[in-house]
Structure formats: C-alpha cells, structure tokens
C-alpha cells in the first residue's frame, strides 16, 4: 500500500481511538477490517486512495458505531456514566463541591446531635439512620431523582426509623443492650445501603449493569473512606502528640467533636470522590483484588486447618462464630469487587481459577461454621443471635455454591462470564431482605430480648 494511504489509516486509527468506548483491541479489529476491504477493492481495480475512501464510507458513521460500542461495553463508559454531559462548565463543578460539603457537614452535625440527645444503645441503632440519608441526598441531587422516587425511598426509611425506635428493646445482662437490639443495629445499615443503591442507580434498579456499578461504587467508597481515615488519623495523631507535649488535653475534643463530625463527613466526601475521580481508583481495583485474593485464600485455609484440628465444635466460642461470619462476609465482598473489576470479555485465566479456589475455601469454612452452629443449636436451643447467624450462613452457602458452579462453567468455557455477574447482581437484594427480616421480625419474635 502507498505510504500516503498508510498515513491516512494511521490518522483514522487515532481518530477512532479517541472514543473511550472503543478499546485498543477493538481498533485493531476495525483496522484489520478496513485493510482487508481496501485490499479487496484494490484487487477489483480501484486505486489505493479510492479504495480507502470507499472502505471508510462502508465502515459507517463512527459516532453511531462508537455509540453501539458504548452500549455493549458500558463498563468502559462507567467514567462518563457518572459525569453528566453538561457538567463541563466550571460553575457546575463548584456547585457540586458546595453541595457535597454542605451534605458532609449535615451528616456530621446529625450524628453529633444524635450523640448529644440519644442514650448509648439508641445511638447505636440510629447511627446509620442519621448519616446515610445525606449520602442518599447526594445521589438524589446528582441523579436528579423525581419527587416520586424520593418519596418511594423515604417510606421504607421512615418505616425502619419507626421500627428501630419504637420497639421496646429489653436491655441485656449487666446493662448492655439486648441481643435483638444489637442485631437490629447491625442489620439496619444493610437495609439502608439498599436505599443508597436505589438512589445511586437513579431508578434503573432492574438493570444488571447499574447494579454492578453500585457494587463497584461500594468497593471504591470503602477504599476512599479508608484512605481518608488513614490520612485524617495521621494528622490527628500528630496534633494530639504536639498538644500533649505543650500540656493541652485534646482527647475530649477529639472524641466529642472531631470524630463524630469527621467520620460521617468523610463518608459523604468519599462518595463524591468515587463519582468525580473515577479514573484513579479504577486502575487500582484489579490490582487490589489480585493482591488480596491469594492472601485471603491463605488466611481461609489456615483458619480451616485450625478449626478442623480444634476438636469439639460444640465448645467453639460464640465470639469465634461471629468473627468467622464477619470473615465470610469480607470474602464475599472481595469476590464481588473482583468480579465487578474484571473485563467480562477476557477469556478464563489463572486468576479465575484462583477465584474458584477462594470460593471453595470459603464454602469449606462456611460448611464447618454451619455444622458448629447446628450442633450449638441442638445443644443450647435457639437464640436470636444463632438464628441470625444461621440465616446469614445459609444465604452465603447458596450464594457461594452457585458462584462456584458458574465459575467452573466459565473455566470450562461452557458459560460466559456474564452469567456469573448476573448471579451476583440478582442475588444481592436477598441480603437486604434478610437484614430487613432481622430488624423488623426478630425483635417481636424473640420478645425483644
């Protein structure tokens, strides 16, 4: 081919590549097509220039083509999805920052007021109710939710707030909150997180893609919140140290004012950062999951070894069961985050096999836990804690078994990765439903003990 045509192809390539929905591999594929077409037209008697023009024309309107790519590969567009097209103006960015800061201050102030007015155990149950509406409000503003959608979110929120505050929870032994009160406090945030998700997806809650975006958002929010916490912790530690040396006791101020204001505020700011600074974390996510998946496998296998050699499972400490539940939930989060960070079109590889090992190890731990729990229930009877833990473990079991099954299918190239993704996004609301049951049904069921 003549050098001028080579140059034209290179320029065309660059022009196509500027579209974010079209990846480098796609451009390679399109270029191969273009060159084959030019060669065929050349063989039919056209000269190179003419052949190139005809081939370009046949390729079609590039905007329309790249729009199709964007529809198909929405994960590549997830940067743009969150930034509305008319956001380019500088004024909007400042307005958004102002809204975020106002909501952050509001979240902190709400928790501070709660701290001043509510007794300890009521505050525990209400903390998420006080803070999360501000995250919901941010997304309601950002996604321009309709008044009806906001009302639809407000109803379950109000119901949850009433339940948590009107139920006559009995105090437990030694003045500590009772079991159902603690369970309600632990599960209310899960229900509320579903409401955050509904606001996040902006009403498109049926869409698997948007649900996956929310999983991604949750993972990245956790990373940003942790980063903010570490940075803030270092600053506060240094401040406390310096003030201590000059004889000022900063700790009461820290506990009463700085932390209650800063921790919820940082959550709102982190939510905004995930939205605004997508590119930064997007590149870290696959790396993080690749680092932590093998480490988690090692942890699970060693825990499994210890549990199996520990002997009688009836005597296993209650605290241990709770801790293990927390570990399994963490493994699940890692799995979800890894799935959300993966390009669904990449063929199965070593890392997918590793992920299967992780799921199987988690399944083994879950099976041991279930056995321990059932023997404890047979020995000591039902209690709210045991039933809640049992329910969670059964949910995890179903989730993991199916995930393992689909991963095997994917590794054997029998199923697309999309099937595994869809299973996650379809199953997630079940956890929120279970959490709602624990908050709403458990206290009356167990006499508010």
């Amino acid at each position: 081919m003549r050098p001028e045509v080579e140059e034209q192809i290179a320029r065309w390539r660059e022009y196509v590549h500027r579209r974010r929905a079209v990846s480098t591999a796609d451009v390679d594929e399109l270029e191969d097509h273009l060159r084959a077409q030019v060669a065929d037209l050349g063989a039919a008697g056209l000269d190179d220039d003419e052949a190139f023009l005809v081939a370009i024309k046949r390729m079609g309107d590039l905007d329309a083509v790249s729009r199709e790519f964007a529809v198909e590969h929405s994960e590549r567009m997830w940067k743009q999805l969150v930034v509305p097209a008319d956001d380019a103006a500088g004024g909007t960015a400042w307005r958004e920052l102002a809204v975020v800061l106002a909501l952050a201050v509001g979240a902190g102030a709400a928790l501070r007021v709660g701290l001043a007015l509510l007794p300890g155990d009521a505050l525990l149950r209400n903390a998420a109710l006080l803070v999360l509406p501000f995250v919901v409000a941010y997304f309601a503003w950002k996604r321009r939710l309709t008044a009806r959608a906001v009302a639809a979110l407000a109803v379950p929120y109000a119901a949850l707030a009433v339940v948590v505050n009107v139920y006559p929870f009995e105090p437990g032994a030694a003045g500590s909150p009772g079991a159902t009160a603690v369970l309600a406090a632990l599960h209310a945030p899960v229900v509320l997180w579903l409401l955050v998700g509904l606001a996040y997806v902006g009403g498109r809650w049926r869409s698997d893609g948007r649900r996956m975006d929310f999983v991604r958002f949750t993972g990245e929010l956790a990373i940003y919140w942790t980063l903010l916490a570490i940075g803030g912790g270092v600053l506060l530690g240094l401040t406390v140290g310096v003030l201590g040396l000059v004889g000022v006791d900063f700790e009461p101020v820290l506990g009463d004012w700085v932390l209650p204001l800063a921790v919820p505020g940082a959550l709102v700011v982190a939510a905004w950062l995930v939205e605004a600074k997508q590119d930064v974390v997007e590149n870290i996510a696959p790396v993080l999951t690749k680092v932590f998946t093998p480490l988690t496998i090692v942890m699970l296998l060693s825990l499994l070894g210890v549990l199996l050699t520990a002997g009688d499972l009836v005597d296993v400490d209650r605290e241990l069961l709770i801790l293990m539940d927390a570990i399994l939930v963490l493994v699940l989060c890692l799995l979800l985050y890894a799935i959300s960070a993966r390009d669904p079109l990449t063929p199965p590889g070593l890392f997918d096999a590793l992920q299967l090992v992780l799921v199987v190890a988690a399944l083994a731990v879950d099976a041991v836990m279930l056995t321990a729990m059932l023997t404890r229930i047979a020995e000591f009877g039902f209690s709210p804690n045991k039933v809640a833990a049992l329910g969670l473990n059964l949910l995890l079991l179903v989730h993991l078994v199916r995930a393992a099954w689909l991963t095997v299918g994917f590794l054997r190239r029998r199923r697309p990765f999309g099937a595994l993704e869809r299973w996650q996004t379809h199953y997630l609301p079940v956890y929120a439903a279970w959490a709602a049951v624990v908050v709403v049904v458990f206290p009356p069921l167990f006499a508010f003990a």
């Binding site: 796609d26 399109l30 060669a39 390729m59 083509v65 029998r414 199923r415 697309p416």
Partner: protein
C-alpha cells in the same frame, strides 16, 4: 432494492449465527458472506458488525480468539459455541414461524387479488342487464 433498516437489524443476529455455523470466520469475511448471500442487497454499516459480535460473545453464543491473517496482521476469529448453536436453533424456529405466516398472508393477498381481477367481469353482467 434496499432492505428496510429495522428488518436488517432484526435479522442480523440469526444471520451471523447461521454464517458462523458454517465455520469459524473473522468479521470482514462474515460481512462478505452476508453480501454474497443477499446478492449485495443487505447493506450494513460495516462497523456495526463488531459491537454485535461482542454482544454475542458476552452472551456466550460465540467465542473469539486472536490469530494472524495471511498478511501477518492481528485478526480476531469468531466461532459458534454450543450455547450459540442452541440460540441459532431457537431463532430458526422463530423465523420459520414468521416466514410461514408471511407466506400464507401473501398467498391470501394474491388469491383475493385474482378474485378481484375476475370480479369486475362477474359484476359487469348484471350491470349490462340494467342497461
């Protein structure tokens, strides 16, 4: 004759699956085959084929692998998977129902057109009686 855009779009998936059932191909060869089969009357924007192929890949109906062309360039080949074969069989059934219904309705239309064509002659006689 140009085929209506919606019709081309609706038939694209079964057509591509059917062509891949004949053997593995790369994108350009698939389009050449479409042109061959339709006598050049089904025109796509070439670029539109690729998002479609990627969708079929995500759905697990086709599997893609990078190879090299005769000219030594990177080239992506597509092959039908067992799931794709099932999907093709299903589409085939759907399309034969549609085609069958259309055939019947064309036949009806032709029959009644013939009847109408004969009709005026039949009606002409009483008209003559009036005259």
């Amino acid at each position: 004759m140009r085929i209506d855009k919606d019709l081309v779009a609706a038939s694209a998936t079964p057509l591509v699956l059917g062509i891949l059932a004949e053997g593995d191909l790369h994108g350009y060869a698939i389009l050449k085959r479409v042109a061959e089969l339709s006598g050049g009357r089904m025109q796509w924007s070439d670029g539109m084929l690729y998002p479609l192929l990627h969708r079929l890949e995500r759905q697990g109906f086709v599997a893609a692998a990078w190879g090299t062309s005769e000219a030594g360039r990177r080239r992506k080949h597509y092959a039908l998977t067992p799931a794709g074969r099932d999907a093709l069989a299903e589409r085939q059934e759907q399309w034969s129902v549609v085609a069958d219904a259309l055939k019947q309705v064309w036949q009806h239309a032709r029959d009644s057109a013939e009847r109408v064509a004969q009709g005026p002659a039949g009606l002409a006689r009483p008209a003559e009686g009036w005259a």
